[in-house]
Symmetry: C2
Subunit: 436 residues, 2 copies
């Protein structure tokens, strides 16, 4: 017999709801001093000793008996080989997913633009791809082929000439599906290194690892801490918190479907968060019953149970308007609008990483193959940030090309403002361009 599951119930009508909700959502990721110190040492060692440090740390942390750096490089042919080692169904699924992800991300590509003013002055922005991007892929159990597609494809669509992947292979464990995904996504080079040392190598370069301009991809606390420390030397994507889903349901979806949608989040890890909001109290009871019924059938039951009991909740609201209010307050990574007319509510959603509309759009479809990216802002950061996209691998340069007439007129304005700031060399530089 498995123990019954106790899931938090909240009601938005309660006077202390706001406080309870804040408490439920509260999450601060902390790198303690010991982790920081360790990571700073590793970064310093890689900067100083390059490949030698990488080999040493890989021996120590990954239990790999490598003779030298050459043993930590996977050539492109090894990726191609992986394509033959996975099942045909897996290969077809990866290829279809990649094609869909590519097609969606093509729409995000931003073009250079400019306009010409009456006096001939041209203003605009030139958009260019990064020269080189680095992709961190965790090793072992949390090594997800889908993440390889989601991180590498936007970079390639942006036109990044070289995508470098690092993936640790603890005790020699190689995930063939991950390598196959890398082959399909167009990854250019792979190094079998991981941890803070891999992040340091990508940021600063070694004899063998080329320095990249931006590092993306998930990792453990050492990887996240290292990314924070190298930020500024290179760009990084977000430091992700635990994954979360908020399901808003009008009470008309099959409760088993909703329970499984919540589990698809909860099975990730013990800190994952799955919340259901509905104006229908009886439906919340039905979903609670489905959860109790289905939980024991999950392969990852223990993880899902801890997540649901520790961080899950079923929230009753007065109506759909209040449900949307709660969604905007939470700014969830994943928002499922499992309702009859989701398009009606969409314009009122101000903050969410991804919005899964209607009863058929399970989050899992977006996680793997619908097309949009599954790297999304967590922990309320959807208030100010966006899904990983092509725009993360492009950057802009302002273009200013003044005609002689334009410079003369702008020079007069710049002169007044520069003198108001006591920056007189600025003023004089502008004044040289004023016509007599």
């Amino acid at each position: 017999m498995t123990a019954p599951i106790a899931i938090r119930r909240l009601n938005a009508a309660d006077s202390d709801f706001a406080r309870h909700l804040d408490h439920l959502l509260s999450w601060e990721s902390v790198s303690d001093d010991a982790v920081n110190q360790r990571v700073l040492e590793i970064i310093a060692a890689v900067r100083e000793r390059g490949d030698a440090a990488l080999v040493e740390y890989t021996r120590r942390f990954d239990g790999l008996e490598v003779a030298g750096m050459a043993d930590l490089i996977l050539p492109r042919e090894r990726l191609e080989l992986a394509l033959t080692r996975i099942t045909p169904a897996q290969r077809a699924a990866l290829e279809t997913a990649a094609e869909r992800v590519r097609r969606y991300h093509e729409k995000q590509k931003q073009d250079s633009w400019s306009y010409t003013e009456a006096d001939g002055t041209v203003l605009g922005q030139q958009v260019t791809p990064l020269d080189r991007a680095g992709l961190y892929v965790p090793g072992g159990k949390a090594s997800y082929p889908s993440s390889v597609l989601m991180n590498a494809i936007p970079a390639k669509v942006a036109g990044v000439p070289e995508v470098v992947m690092v993936v640790p292979t603890p005790r020699g464990d190689i995930n063939e599906i991950v390598l196959a995904a890398a082959a399909i996504a167009g990854v250019d080079r792979v190094f079998t290194i991981g941890g803070a040392q891999a992040v340091a190598a990508l940021a600063y370069g070694t004899e063998s690892v080329p320095p990249v301009d931006k590092i993306v991809g998930p990792g453990n606390i050492y990887v996240a801490t290292a990314k924070r420390h190298v930020f500024g030397k290179v760009g990084i994507d977000m430091i992700a918190g635990p994954s979360e889903i908020l399901v808003v349901c009008d009470g008309q979806t099959d409760p088993d479907w909703i329970a499984m949608d919540l589990f698809s989040q909860a099975e990730h890890d013990e800190d994952a968060q799955a919340i259901l909001v509905s104006p229908d109290a009886a439906f919340l009871d039905q979903v609670a019953a489905s959860i109790a019924k289905l939980l024991p059938t999950l392969e990852r039951e223990a993880i899902a149970r801890t997540s649901m009991e520790g961080r899950g909740a079923l929230i009753q609201v007065a109506d759909m308007a209040q449900a949307i209010e709660v969604a905007n307050r939470i700014a969830p990574e994943h928002l499922e609008l499992s309702v009859a007319d989701p398009a009606k509510w969409l314009p009122q959603i101000r903050h969410a990483g991804a919005i899964f509309m209607g009863r058929y759009t399970a989050e899992a479809l977006g996680d793997y193959c619908a097309g949009p990216n599954h790297v999304l802002p967590t922990s309320g950061t959807a208030r100010y940030s966006s899904p990983l996209g092509v725009y993360d691998f492009q950057k802009r340069s302002s273009i200013i090309h003044c005609s002689a007439d334009g410079a003369s007129e702008l020079g007069k304005i710049a002169s007044v403002l520069a003198r108001g700031e006591s920056l007189t060399a600025h003023a004089r530089s502008a004044e040289y361009r004023i016509k007599n």
Copy 2:
């Protein structure tokens, strides 16, 4: 008599040029432990004691005898009053600059988009503005009205409903041009607080200061360190390094113009960097002579001298192609192409914050009023980042709306991939949507 000035001369043909250039460019901004400790204490105090902590720190650090928080709030009418206290020429210049900046940034506005697949599935992105943005404006001497325009206008163009500005007023010093710029840019609320305490207040909110979603704007080491620490709770713009210019000249521009363009960067602060690259050795001599001649005429001579001697350089290259190579290596914040046909070289520029094209386009024109933003990536970060823009105040939510048919097909692919990752709740959630 002023001392002659000695500016570093480099030649790209020298065997150790790369090493010299690396050394010239090297810059790491470091917050030492004492600063970090101090800032963490201030953030903790503001989180704990709110307004009371702000009042206390403002008394202590800004030497302001304030009775309470009410004394640290500037109503909108006070901003309007400032418009009457500056000169008509200043007001007209600010208004013209604001209008041009607004017009340029309107072009950056990104729209929601979507497409419908054959089976009725809809995919896209919904673009929304941040709810609230915070703008840090330094007090005292480095208080630049132009920065108020450059930071606030993109936020308002993005549609941010509330822009909150903080600006310290040490010993009661109020910069009327800064307040006038805030009025013109449409800033909604102003608090006369500064330092790490102002950043903490914007990030976490107090009884009087509303919490914002993103903090932008320059500041001293305490402000920069505080921004680093609150990153994650809120978004931040870049942590800026010293300002830099790279001028590429074919030798045909008036050397006095080029010297003054270099000074317009060098006068900012002692760490600012001004570099000239030219294939014409005689021209480099002429500019050196102009620098020596004009330096003593600068109001900020001492600062410019320290900057030019410490971090400036005149670099000789073989030809324009090599000049562009050097520019891409440096990835400068400001790049002046003071050449006959700048459009010819533009497509080869891969990394630069802003590109000032032709002999008439002095950087100062872009700093104040051409239209593009003057908040630009420094210290080589143009390799992966962009000028501040409307896109920094908008964010995207992925949209996925599967039709029943679409979900059925995608469910099959998701099922294979999820099982390949041992995430079986994901698989089952997807499989529920597969038609029999």
